[in-house]
């Protein structure tokens, strides 16, 4: 394990142990299942934004993509009575399209990523509200809905995306399997393919990478497409998890949690750095902090404050580690 990943892992264990000691109820199966489920959901979005942050970019639209995707999915399944797998396909194509649009605007129209995705945040949120007339909606159809004919299949999807698999007395939430598969795929992509290498290279030095003959624009577009795709997958998971999607609220601020997890997990907003394992652990740390605040009995009004301080200290610690490593390398006589 790399040093900075080890650091965040130690943080996770420390908070975990302290909370368990103060309140043994923290360890009960129900709480653990919830913690794993929410950590997995956050980690999916965090992994997505990590691709973009590695290239030195940013995506602020993730929460709105989550909201829009869960709204569109619910409409397709419940109101339109669409074939359930086609509905999933449509939402994935929608998220890919959003990512492609971001990538093209950033590389071809040369609009800054912050601006492109900030506008995306506003547009997708309002599209979700407009499509539903701002009424809450869920993917599960009732008798009067057109989708009722597909009830069985939709229940199947519900199990796939938000079910529980019994492992003895412990029920593992299915989102945990999603994050397992997605994080392995992401790690292999980043570390074992040339495109992963290109993302790191261009995040460190875009011009230098272009001078080495790499189509940096295409690689940046790829990063935004992956980011929105992961946000879309998270949107599907959330739709089934929540049952009732609030067009104005579902996914709100999630981009900030995702970015926070990516940064805490070792991605630098300057680009060129990051590890999948670090990001996944950091997403878990963020959920764990929430849970611990409740369990330990700290006022929930302090949630944001504590979260902010932990992230800040984590990143400062990371910087110190990096400097120490750099000094060590510099000291090697050449």
């Amino acid at each position: 394990m790399k040093k900075n990943v080890l650091g965040i892992f130690i943080l996770l264990v420390a908070i975990f142990v302290i909370t368990a000691v103060i309140n043994p109820k923290f360890l009960n199966a129900y709480n653990m299942q919830n913690l794993i489920k929410w950590s997995s959901l956050y980690a999916v979005m965090s992994l997505g934004v990590a691709f973009v942050i590695i290239t030195g970019g940013i995506d602020l639209s993730i929460g709105s993509v989550v909201g829009l995707v869960s709204v569109v999915l619910s409409i397709c399944l419940k109101l339109e009575g669409m074939d359930p797998w086609s509905a999933i396909g449509i939402t994935l194509v929608l998220s890919l399209g959003i990512g492609l649009l971001h990538g093209l605007l950033i590389t071809k129209a040369k609009v800054q990523p912050f601006v492109v995705t900030l506008c995306g945040l506003l547009v997708y949120r309002s599209m979700g509200r407009w499509l539903t007339d701002n009424q809450s909606i869920g993917p599960m159809p009732y008798e009067e809905d057109a989708g009722y004919k597909n009830l069985e299949q939709i229940q199947g999807l519900d199990f796939l995306f938000s079910g529980k698999i019994a492992l003895g007395s412990f029920n593992l939430p299915t989102p945990a399997l999603f994050i397992l598969v997605l994080s392995i795929a992401a790690a292999v992509f980043l570390r074992r393919t040339i495109w992963g290498r290109y993302l790191f290279a261009l995040g460190n030095n875009e011009e230098g990478t272009r001078y080495s003959g790499i189509d940096t624009d295409r690689m940046k577009i790829l990063a935004y497409v992956l980011c929105s795709l992961f946000a879309g997958i998270a949107g599907i998971l959330f739709a089934f998890e929540l049952d009732s999607v609030q067009p104005a609220q579902t996914g709100e601020f999630y981009e900030l949690y995702a970015i926070a997890a990516a940064v805490l997990g070792g991605c630098s907003l300057r680009g060129g750095e990051g590890s999948v394992l670090g990001v996944v652990i950091a997403a878990a740390v963020i959920r764990l902090i929430y849970n611990s605040i409740n369990m330990v009995g700290i006022s929930t009004h302090l949630e944001f404050g504590i979260l902010g301080l932990v992230i800040l200290l984590g990143v400062i610690g990371d910087e110190f580690l990096k400097k120490a490593v750099a000094r060590k390398q510099a000291a090697v006589k050449t």
Partner: protein, 502 residues
């Protein structure tokens, strides 16, 4: 000791190291009042490092530093300014959006009742501008005047801080002939008023005209001093290079083969009004000389597709090619070792291995999977054939010396076996040892039939390495010189647009 015999500035035993390189190994220097001291040496000799230390930009690791006989220590630029030492930067530091008065007094604005005293500032600025022979309204925007005049404004700014020593680093590298003459007048005038100047230049002709004394550096050490009557071209070159020129460059002339690159009326985006035509053949080393800003780097960047051509034709081995980006250039067998190694040549925070393999990753990959064996082989090949000094393949490129960094850049391209190698200032900022190795490599590659086109601001390098040279002036090719026709004078005449004399 009276004031006139104690040197104005005296340093000795100055040492400075950077990660991976010992830049200064105990150098000394002294300067009298009203003296123009020229500091010469090849790229990487340590001149710029010394200047930065003298001006307080960076501290020395050790050494004795005296001003008028008193020991001083500079922590920053302001400390140096207080002692009257000012550096005129190679890259000018004026704020283009502010007027001349605001620039001259930036950070030291005269105030009255807490507000900027505009009229005082203007009056003072006029005085200092006239000392450097500039008759411009003080409310002219700094960005709107040519570079030569901007430099004079920088000097005026230094004078306004009561500078007694001006350090000028390659002041004429981007000036026209006329601007250079004006600058010389100003320098001579300042000298007569008792101001001392340390003058760094590659242009030996200028040194001869201007300097009262010359100090020569090589590889971070003093290697000699020439008094005014000893200053001539041969003496200077011998000290700088440390051996006879022919031995250092060691060129064999190959019979050039078929043309590899041929440009016909190629229009670069930087100077679209001047179409360029040139040719480089197999086994030929062709130089491109000229002043900074003459469009040489832009020419290489257009050939390499960084800034695609607006028109004209580019042929590779007789076939017309359209090169829209570096990828396209690489695919037809072109490689570029860029001038700005850190920005364009390397990904500094990545390892020697990751840098060496970057261009060849795709070729060696199957369906996008990294081929780690091929990557290691490419790296090993680069490190061994280029003699890159690195503790291991995982060392960050950032922590290697300039010479070793340049070797990584060359190594990564050799893995692509290019037909045409473009080199932009191939030996800038690297030590003499590495420099020699790069020359040897150029010679070897040309011997194997590669076509090499290189841009250099170092006269000796062009004279020593090129089979043939093009000289550029303000975006045009002002002349072509065969090896027999090449001389410092011929190149300078063409480079400064003095066509009649060429």
């Amino acid at each position: 000791m009276d004031e006139s015999s104690s040197p104005l500035l005296e340093v000795s035993g100055l040492r400075k190291s950077f990660p991976g390189v010992l830049a200064l190994r105990g150098v000394s220097l002294h300067l009298q009042k009203g003296e123009v001291l020229a500091l010469i040496g090849e790229n990487g000799a340590g001149k710029s490092t010394l200047m930065k230390i003298l001006a307080g930009v960076q501290p020395a690791d050790e050494g004795d530093f005296r001003v008028s006989g008193k020991k001083v220590f500079f922590r920053n630029v302001n400390d140096a300014m207080d002692k009257g030492i000012a550096l005129i930067h190679q890259e000018l530091n004026l704020c283009g959006n502010l007027d001349l008065a605001a620039n001259v007094f930036l950070g030291r604005e005269p105030t009255k009742a807490g507000l900027i005293d505009e009229s005082e500032m203007r009056r003072q600025t006029e005085k200092f501008l006239s000392q450097v022979g500039l008759n411009l309204p003080v409310d002219t925007l700094a960005g709107s005047i040519p570079i030569g005049k901007q430099q004079l404004v920088e000097i005026a700014k230094a004078l306004s801080c009561n500078a007694r020593v001006l350090i000028m680093d390659e002041p004429t590298s981007s000036l026209s002939q006329k601007e250079t003459e004006t600058l010389f007048e100003v320098v001579k005038n300042l000298r007569s008023k008792g101001i001392s100047v340390i003058y760094i230049s590659h242009r030996l002709g200028e040194v001869k005209e201007l300097a009262d004394r010359v100090t020569v550096f090589r590889d971070g050490e003093n290697v000699g001093e020439l008094m005014q009557d000893q200053i001539d071209h041969d003496n200077m070159v011998k000290l700088m290079v440390g051996r006879e020129l022919s031995e250092f460059y060691d060129r064999q002339i190959h019979n050039p083969g078929k043309p590899v690159l041929s440009l016909k009326n190629l229009r670069c985006p930087s100077y679209p009004q001047h179409p360029l035509s040139l040719e480089v053949s197999e086994g030929e080393i062709v130089g491109v000389a000229g002043l900074v800003g003459a469009g040489r780097t832009e020419l290489l960047q257009t050939i390499f597709g960084v800034t695609p051509a607006l028109g004209g034709s580019l042929e590779i081995s007789g076939e017309a090619k359209e090169i829209r980006n570096p990828r396209a250039a690489i695919s037809v067998g072109i490689a570029l070792a860029p001038e700005d190694r850190k920005q364009h040549g390397l990904v500094l925070p990545m390892s020697v291995r990751e840098n060496s393999s970057l261009p060849s990753l795709q070729r060696d990959a199957s369906r996008g999977w990294l081929n780690e064996n091929a990557e290691r082989a490419v790296t090993q090949n680069a490190v061994e054939s280029m003699k890159i000094k690195t503790p291991n393949y995982e060392q960050m490129a950032r922590f290697l010396s300039g010479g070793n960094q340049q070797k990584i850049v060359l190594g990564k391209w050799l893995a692509m076996s290019p037909k045409l190698l473009l080199l932009d200032e191939p030996t800038r900022g690297i030590d003499v040892g590495a420099k020699r190795e790069i020359y040897k490599l150029m010679e070897k590659l040309a011997g194997e039939g590669m076509a090499i086109l290189f841009v250099s601001s170092e006269m000796e390098e062009v004279l020593g390495m090129a089979d043939r040279a093009y000289v550029m002036h303000e975006g045009q090719i002002s002349g072509e010189l065969s090896r027999d026709q090449m001389s410092e004078k011929a190149i300078m005449n063409l480079a400064t647009g003095n066509l009649a004399a060429a």
